[in-house]
Symmetry: C2
Subunit: 261 residues, 2 copies
């Protein structure tokens, strides 16, 4: 599918903007301008994406095929309304998993362009494997967005606001919360002067296993075996040293027992 | 380091026994007998490890360099005491992360041989990368166990009961609990008719990232950004549809906020 979008500007120069701007630029899309309030990131990104950086929103050239808001959720509304006042039919999307279409207050050419991935500026990503979830009330514009996404990724899907919100919640569980469990283990090992790195083969195997076995079937451990002797021993140890960890161990153990009762 | 242990028998034929017996057999160690109460697994394993299976503990030949108890925690004591009554100086270890040396009640040649990995029978493991944690009060026997582990793995460590218990708790967090978060996400996606597989690139990136960045530094997401707007939105949605998920989301979010306050 061909896309008629050939010239894009970015509002924002953070992790998402960085990966998208560079990827589009590589595919021959013109990145016309990159706006950021602070200017520090946008200058580097503009150089990387063969673009121009601006620090004043009034310098934004509105003669563009698409404006991508890759900014914090709470500023999408203010910034987009400011621009829509100048040009009501400008084509714009944001990249947030949890903000709905209603943020654009029924402007005609608006949509959502959500890459389901955790981006870090300095970490390379295989963008062709990143799922892109597209939402728009305007069918013609939606088709253009789908065509545009397919330039980058093999995995492009039409999602409603509600579906995207649910997937975003699931993403918080698998990405942010699982990383937090690893961080807890890191802390716990350091506290007891144990080498956290010893856990890495186990972490790799946890993930490797669910490539072939769905996680619900791959579950192992004391709670899955209903081994109350070990569970009580762990709860007793944690109770004495860390009330907070005790609560997390207890709640997640109950949750496993509940899932397989 | 050479090991004087050349002839091993196994008590148990589950996941751990399967991986260890096959790995030792490949390295030229004789697996003399494999005992299991039920007999079903032991027959297959005996065939795979070029060994003999027995279903009656009294058929166990005590002329062996080492006896490995790879059984459920709660039966280690009964089974080991039964054998120690017949031969008090027999060399024996168990493979549990959470059972202490005291289970052997001061028998002279006893120890713990704990492979820190989640084993599934049908899933291949690179055993050379599995950390082996060795515990024993008998220095000469401990040296033999270390020598034996080094036949299988490049990562062999001397651990006290207390250290091993702590590492086992950390292992529950990184392996069992993180897998449970993936299972929750799988359930949640199925409930909302979303394709769980869309989350796989995100899960892979979560792990890939902590290969180079410690998890405490790799944390991202609404709680890390202190984005209370998204957090409140997610909590509101979950409160309405699933009280249990609401509690997990709430506790883990508080835990992240607490870690980075």
């Amino acid at each position: 599918m061909e896309s008629s979008i050939k010239k894009i500007s970015f509002i924002g120069s953070g992790n998402v903007a960085t990966h998208l701007a560079k990827a589009f630029s590589k595919k021959g899309i013109t990145i016309q301008q990159i706006y950021s309030q602070t200017c520090d990131n946008s200058e580097i990104l503009a150089w990387q994406a063969n673009s121009i950086y601006i620090c004043d929103l009034d310098e934004l050239n509105l003669d563009v095929d698409l404006l991508i808001f890759a900014v914090k959720d709470e500023v999408i509304k203010t910034l987009s309304q400011y621009i829509l006042q100048k040009k009501t039919d400008i084509k714009m999307v944001h990249t947030s998993g949890s903000v709905g279409l209603d943020v654009f207050e029924n402007a005609e050419n608006t949509g959502i362009f959500y890459p389901l991935q955790s981006f870090s500026k300095t970490k390379k990503i295989d963008i062709t494997a990143v799922p892109f979830l597209i939402t728009s009330n305007n069918d013609a514009f939606k088709k253009e967005l789908i065509g545009l996404s397919k330039i980058l990724s093999d995995k492009v899907y039409e999602y409603t606001d509600e579906q995207r919100r649910h997937l975003h919640i699931a993403a918080v569980f698998v990405n942010n919360f699982s990383n937090h469990l690893f961080a807890i283990a890191q802390d716990y090992c350091e506290k007891h002067q144990l080498d956290y790195q010893l856990l890495m083969p186990l972490i790799h195997e946890t993930i490797h296993k669910i490539d072939t076995i769905p996680p619900k079937d791959a579950q192992t451990g004391p709670a899955r075996r209903k081994d109350m002797e070990i569970i009580d021993k762990h709860l007793y140890l944690l109770k004495q040293e860390d009330e907070h960890l005790h609560r997390i161990y207890s709640l997640l153990t109950d949750s496993i027992l509940k899932m397989y009762k």
